[in-house]
């Protein structure tokens, strides 16, 4: 498989009035096409910074980010899904989903709209097409948010802890839903999370970051058995991997305190 995204020797400094914060220190990793990768790390280590850099919302202080063979990041190739669904409550579900199309005004608008409609049908939300998002449950809102992202047909999906606002039960099922949708649509995804089991159950690859300034501590290739994230949790290897990651992360947290 080809690499869709690669970070090479990326450094990033945040500027504040009092200080210059060294956030990312020589970050290197690759993301293959149609893979599901996760980035885990202690809180505040710069995970979201990596997503912002990938989306082109920030520019690296030094180093190279290559997306789909281009150094100039084309934000149309990126779909960003946030912690909160950020649905606009004054727009209908349909108007929310087509927001990206409305903004980017693509040439093939009709095709994109038809595709969005198809997605709604496929993922059982067509009945809510003209409803306001306030009529939906938390899990459904998150699904609408995902379809809004997919409707623009991005090459790479960026997921910034998209389940953290949901309660545990919903979280597991939405996790399955989202995983299923991403795999069915053959998308490449990059997930940022501090939930180790979530990362393990969804990913083909995990990039472990150290605390700030973040460096890549480890890169794990995973091959857990199971068709859904929930099933993967039952793989016998799951718990040993969990232990391994947990120890790595807690060492980092401790290191931060001293």
């Amino acid at each position: 498989m080809e690499n869709l995204l690669s970070f090479s020797q990326v450094n990033y400094f945040y500027q504040t009035k009092k200080d210059e914060i060294f956030a990312l220190n020589n970050i290197n990793f690759d993301i293959e096409e149609e893979s599901f990768s996760s980035i885990v790390g202690p809180s505040g280590c710069g995970k979201t910074t990596i997503l912002s850099l990938t989306a082109g919302l920030l520019k690296p202080s030094s180093g190279k980010i290559v997306l789909d063979g281009e150094e100039q990041i084309d934000s149309k190739k990126i779909g960003y899904m946030f912690q909160r669904d950020h649905l606009f409550n004054w727009r209908s579900v349909w108007k929310n989903i087509t927001l990206g199309i409305e903004i980017q005004k693509p040439q093939n608008k009709e095709e994109k709209l038809a595709f969005a409609e198809e997605l709604l049908k496929k993922y059982d939300l067509i009945g809510f097409k003209n409803k306001k998002p306030t009529a939906l449950s938390g899990g459904m809102r998150q699904r609408v948010a995902l379809i809004r992202t997919l409707a623009m047909e991005p090459k790479l999906l960026l997921l910034d802890e998209p389940f953290s606002a949901l309660d545990y039960q919903t979280r597991l099922s939405v996790c399955d839903d989202v995983y299923d949708i991403i795999k069915t649509e053959k998308k490449t995804a990059m997930l940022v999370t501090h939930d180790i089991s979530e990362a393990l159950s969804m990913s083909d690859k995990i990039v472990v970051l150290s605390s700030r300034p973040a460096t890549v501590k480890d890169t794990l290739k995973l091959s857990l058995q199971g068709e859904t994230p929930l099933k993967k949790r039952e793989d016998p290897e799951f718990s040993s991997l969990f232990d391994y990651l947990w120890r790595q992360l807690s060492n980092e947290e401790k290191g931060k305190e001293t």
Binding site: A55, F82, H86, N89, W90, I103, Q104, T134, A135, L136
Partner: protein, 274 residues
Amino acid sequence: MKKKEKKPNFSKSHKLYVRRLRRDKFIVIFFRIFVLVAFLGLWELLTYYKVLDPFFVSSPSRIIKQIGTMASNGTLFSHSWITLYETLIGFGIATALGYLIAVLLWWNEKVRKIFEPYIVVLNSLPKIALGPVIILWVGAGTNAIVLMCVLICIVITTMSMLSAFLSVEEGKILLLKSMNANKFQILFKLVLPSTMPEFISVLKINVGMSWVGSIMGEYLTSKAGLGYLIVYGGQIFKIDLVMAATVILCILAFAMYYFVSLLEKHYGTSRGKG
């Protein structure tokens, strides 16, 4: 997702609950009317038996008679119309201009920072102090009254709308940015529609403020209008006229407020916190 049932079978306790709600509502409405009737009745009685001197406090029947005469000789409508006209123009200009200024200040952070202290000063300045200056600049009459009205409403409009614009969730702006939206799109797709409820409440505040503005303006300089009647009535000790004008003012202000609240019903429910 909970489905709404169309005709559920009510239990007995639910029936009781609904009945109690209805009874409470009835009590509120009953006493609301009772307070008004009692107040007017007492006023009428006390003045009828000369406990209070109607020369100083007027009375409901005298006010009605006064309004009746004014209606029959046409002065009721001409004076009301003049004040209503001034108020509506002032209200419209102040709301539109104040909103526009808020948008400009939202758009450019530097401009916002430059003007921030001036706006704060203008907000705390009692606008009536500008009265003589206004008359010198635009002359006595309708212009001065409308300008007074605009000055009273515009600063609060700008301040309220600006703070609403600035409190739009950062995450939602980031979402639009990640879709490659420009500032214009962020303004029209997110900032303006999401601050609709704040805009409605600014309209409500402005209804009250614009009446203050136009009456204040008429106190300052006028040859007609409800504010003029009030001042004139006070000067010739015709308290019936003062009271009649005040009652009409109440009715007009309430009607205007009612139209705004219709708008609110239309837009108000379209946004929860999201």
